[in-house]
């Protein structure tokens, strides 16, 4: 149907564009030089991956830890009016709310007396797990379904295509919201459902690429020499759609991270782990007085999505022959 309109779907000639023989380091250097935007995206992504991996080391504090200080102003038995005039008098121990960035708390503390820096650092874990995990699920699922679709063609293909059409006819965020509400909202489930919601796009991308390769001369040649369908798929078609897989993988990550942030913002995200979307929402009420939580969490979302998008764009430029060399 509409795949003809998708600019990313193009027949591919030679997929091994990042020349393996020269060594990874040199092609990386060439990539950085040739694609400065993509290169900076790569740096951002690598930084975030490091932060996520080392979260336990650089966190400085447990993200759940609640900081308190003794309250010298504590007064027993306060009245409503006294509390209204000075809400702090009611508790012998004060939660360290809304501390400014600096000192022991690099990014300050939130309303609950927790360290924002450690939450942002741990939020990177969730975002990366969500982005990469959902993308892997979507690409692997899309590959399997796309291959089946192209392999069997006919009625199976038609049915799969209609189901894909169905998923695409429902707004992505709505789909994700519905899916994630079905099961308990653990990180694993949210990642799984995001990947499932993303299946429509990857299936469509991969299917058309498989179709294109299937019609190419070397596949016809393999068929002539009597190779089985399965063998053709695995040995000839698969290596030739790797570039599309990489594109499909990389362009989705940013979208999944944003989708997770969005549902967390709406209060329907994964539970039990610091989430940037949820932090933006939590800090929004007092944005003008205590902007730090919202600013840092929102900034982190923007930065990581930016990194993945830049990288994905550059990869597509490199892997997409229509734009290559232009």
């Amino acid at each position: 149907m509409t795949q003809t309109l998708d600019p990313t779907v193009v027949p591919l000639r030679d997929p091994t564009l990042l020349d393996r023989s020269r060594g990874a380091a040199r092609s990386l250097a060439r990539f950085m030089r040739g694609k400065p935007l993509g290169g900076s995206g790569l740096i951002v992504v690598v930084l975030f991956i490091l932060v996520a991996l080392l979260a336990g080391v650089i966190q400085r504090h447990d993200p759940d830890e609640i900081f308190e200080t003794p309250n010298p102003d504590y007064k027993a038995n306060p009245s409503t009016l006294e509390l209204a005039r000075n809400p702090d008098i009611g508790s012998p121990v004060l939660v360290s709310q809304f501390e400014e960035p600096g000192g022991d708390h690099w990014f300050g503390t939130d309303k609950f007396g927790r360290d924002i820096w450690s939450q942002v650092v741990h939020g990177a874990r969730l975002s990366l797990i969500v982005g990469l995990g959902a993308s892997v699920i979507a690409v692997v699922g899309g590959l399997i379904i796309g291959m089946i679709s192209a392999y069997y063609a006919g009625i199976v293909d038609l049915l799969i295509q209609r189901i894909v059409d169905m998923l695409q006819a429902i707004p992505f965020l709505v789909l994700v919201l519905v899916f994630t509400q079905i099961t308990e909202r653990s990180v694993f489930n949210v990642v799984l459902w995001l990947g499932v919601a993303g299946l429509a796009i990857t299936t469509r991308l991969i299917r058309s690429a498989v179709f294109a390769v299937r019609e190419s001369e070397f596949v016809l040649a393999a068929r002539v020499v009597g190779a089985s369908d399965l063998r053709i798929m695995v040995r000839h078609v698969l290596p030739n759609v790797v570039a599309v897989l990489i594109i499909a993988f990389s362009i989705g990550i940013g979208a999944y991270i944003l989708a997770e942030a969005s549902i967390s913002f709406l209060g329907a995200g994964p539970q039990g782990i610091p989430s940037w979307g949820q932090m933006v929402q939590a800090g929004r009420g007092s944005l003008d007085l205590h902007p730090w939580q919202t600013v840092f969490a929102g900034g982190a979302i923007m930065l990581i999505v930016l990194g993945f998008n830049l990288l994905g764009d550059a990869l597509r430029d490199v892997l997409d022959p229509r734009l290559r060399g232009a």
């Binding site: 759940d64 027993a76 509390l83 209204a84 005039r85 012998p92 309303k111 209060g267």
Partner: protein, 665 residues
């Protein structure tokens, strides 16, 4: 010095409120009490009169103070002084300073200002989103009341919802000839709305005078749970309360209710906001469509006439020209409710740009920030929230039926820390009876040394940890602590699941606790099946200021809200006796003993934590009725607002917006 005297002045104020409460608690049974709340009852029996005289003798030493009181308050003050405990009383008399006099003068001046209330104007507020029915008797959801309590009347209403002070509404006066009889003398000249969509409904009897039959019909349908079709309906929310009526007699313009058993809490129930009086013709005639909310099915005898009720779009009401309180009350031309803002920032935008006249937000910081921005134009009011926040442990099933574990949880619950984290300190800890039910609660000072509430939290935690370890808590594996999604959906509280889990993890030095959220959709069925997960949330347990009903509902064998299957002969006997006890002091002692008994057992898993205080912000022109300058009411007081609310359009802050365009009559 100034702070100290300020503190003591506050203390005195609280004391007097407490005294009023005690007085009104007696109002349930004795005419002396009724005289105090000013309902103009003439049928004093001898005993009550002597009581008053005795009190006067006892309190003559405080004549100096009485001289400064308006007459009505004088009598109340006397009782206050008499009943307050000795130490506080002493302190109080010592603190009769010039400052106090000045304050009381200020209060009198305020009262004079209040009498110059202005008339006219429209108020715009946010409405709720879901209205499941227009029949208040068949719902347990309070948003309906925000609309209906301005349109319909009750038998009595609260003059002061916190103390339980009553005034007549449809019944002008009431009498209590003996401990099981209540006589209601209906007000003359009350008629059903003569205009508006409801009056135009074919089934309605527009403009008809109110009769005793109307009252009887309303009580009968609720206590018998019967619809006019003869069908039984299970959803009469107050059927248990009205079931306390054994029979009804009508004499002239009076209705006499004979109670099944002596019930000292019964009269307050007339003023329960849910107990609105429906018109038999209209509500009875549309019972088959009772879930289809629409202005045309609503008729009342109240100060306003509903002109529009389109949930999600708009609701409006205009002044009832035939209301019995006119020309004094109500003051406003009408009300407009705009649809709910799903996003707190949209609400804020609407308020800051004067598209609505008032605002509340779960996050006090938001309200304070707005007030800082608009310091000259707005004022703050703090009001208690009757939805009590609690930690629920399913003590009716393993492993929590080991009360050591339940008590460990109760002890480890860091109530003051939660108030800090979730409400910025705006809240007070509550025992089994909420602090808002002041006449019945254990005083805050006493709670400070009660295990679970101790100021020295380390002692609580040490005890909790010992119990936890002794009962095999560490072997329980992962424990999911549920927070309702509705609670966590508010930005200010969104981190609640995490901080609850962290609170217990820190207390027990473990990482077993894990915070999750679930929607009410899942939670409610599990509660009904009494198979619920450990839970943190609010419960709407308070409907009237008298705490006995709530305690009986939660802790007596087989009671409606006893989700923990508590069955303890001592509690059963004591609470039932307390309910029938006519003497306040005795009843209070009984309830207090039960509270202490319950607290020693980890509150049986119903670990009441606190009631928080909500900041409410309004523009200076928006004159809402409140307790004091800054303090609002603890309890839902819609009917009070319907009568007393007014707009001062001469105030510099007055909105320049055009009058909203409600559906005209």
């Amino acid at each position: 010095m100034s702070e100290r005297s300020y503190w003591q002045r506050m203390n005195r104020k609280r004391m007097s409120r407490r005294g009023i409460l005690r007085a009104s608690a007696r109002a349930g049974v004795g005419a002396a009490g009724l005289a105090l709340v000013g309902c103009g009852d003439d049928d004093d029996d001898g005993q009550a009169v002597t009581q008053v005289q005795q009190q006067q003798q006892q309190t003559t030493s405080q004549a100096q103070q009485q001289a400064m009181q308006p007459q009505q308050q004088q009598a109340m003050q006397q009782q206050t002084q008499q009943q307050a405990d000795a130490q506080a009383m002493q302190q109080q008399t010592q603190e009769q300073t010039a400052e106090d006099q000045a304050e009381q003068q200020a209060m009198q001046q305020q009262a004079m200002v209040a009498s110059t209330k202005k008339y006219g104007g429209w108020i715009v507020e946010q409405s709720a989103n879901v209205y499941e029915t227009y029949d208040a008797q068949r719902t347990v959801a309070s948003p309906v009341l925000q609309v209906l309590a301005r349109v319909q009347s009750k038998i009595l209403r609260f003059a002061n919802p916190d103390t339980g002070d009553l005034v007549g509404d449809l019944a002008e006066t009431w009498e209590l000839p003996d401990s099981t009889t209540v006589v209601l003398n209906l007000r003359d000249g009350v008629s059903w709305h003569a205009e508006g969509p409801g009056a135009n409904h074919p089934a309605a009897a527009a403009g008809r005078a109110l009769t005793t039959e109307d009252i009887v019909w309303n009580i009968d349908r609720q206590r018998n749970k019967l619809l006019t079709s003869g069908e039984e309906a299970g959803n009469f929310g107050r059927s248990a309360y009205w079931g306390g009526v054994a029979s009804i007699d009508q004499v002239d313009n009076s209705v006499s209710l004979n109670l099944v058993e002596p019930d000292a809490t019964f009269v307050q129930g007339f003023a329960n906001e849910f107990n609105l009086i429906n018109q038999p013709e209209l509500v009875g005639g549309t019972e088959d469509q009772y879930t289809e909310v629409d202005a045309s099915k609503v008729i009342g005898t109240g100060p306003n006439i509903l002109t529009r009720w389109d949930p999600g779009e708009g609701i409006s009401a205009v002044q009832n020209p035939n209301f019995y309180g006119l020309p004094d009350k109500p003051h406003l031309d009408g009300w407009v409710w705009v649809q709910t803002f799903q996003d707190p920032n949209a609400y804020r935008i609407a308020f800051e740009q004067k598209q609505v006249d008032s605002m509340t937000d779960p996050d006090p910081n938001t309200i304070l920030a707005i007030h800082d921005d608009l310091i000259d134009e707005t004022y703050l009011t703090y009001q208690g929230v009757a939805n009590t926040v609690a930690i629920f442990t399913p003590s009716n099933k393993a492993p929590w039926n080991d009360l050591r574990l339940t008590r460990a949880i109760d002890l480890a619950t860091n109530r003051r820390q939660l108030i800090q984290q979730l409400h910025n300190g705006l809240g007070k800890v509550s025992g089994p009876v909420s602090w808002m039910q002041e006449a019945w609660a254990i005083p805050q000072g006493d709670l400070e040394t009660t295990p679970g509430y101790r100021v020295d939290k380390d002692a609580d935690i040490e005890e909790a940890r010992a119990l936890w370890n002794a009962a095999g808590g560490p072997e329980l594996g992962q424990i999911d602590w549920v927070t309702s999604e509705l609670w966590a959906s508010r930005a200010a509280w969104s981190a609640t699941p995490g901080i609850i889990a962290e609170m217990f993890n820190q207390a027990f030095d473990t990482d077993q606790f894990n915070g999750i959220t679930k929607p009410y959709l899942e939670i409610i069925p599990s509660w009904i099946a009494k198979d619920f997960d450990p839970f943190f949330s609010w419960i709407p347990n308070i409907e009237i200021p008298d705490a006995r009903a709530d305690m009986i509902g939660a802790f007596t064998t087989g009671a409606g809200s006893n989700y923990w299957d508590v069955s303890d002969p001592y509690i059963d006997e004591t609470l039932v006796a307390a309910k029938q006890e006519l003497d306040y002091e005795t009843a209070y002692q009984m309830v207090r003993e039960v509270q202490e008994y319950v607290m020693e057992r980890g509150q049986f898993g119903r670990s009441i934590c606190y009631n928080y205080i909500y900041p409410w912000i309004g523009y200076n022109y928006n004159k809402i009725e409140k307790k004091t300058d800054e303090e609002g009411w603890n309890f839902l007081a819609v009917s009070l607002q319907a009568m007393e609310h007014y707009l001062d359009l001469d105030d510099p802050s007055a909105a320049t917006r055009e009058a909203p365009s409600p559906v005209p009559l």
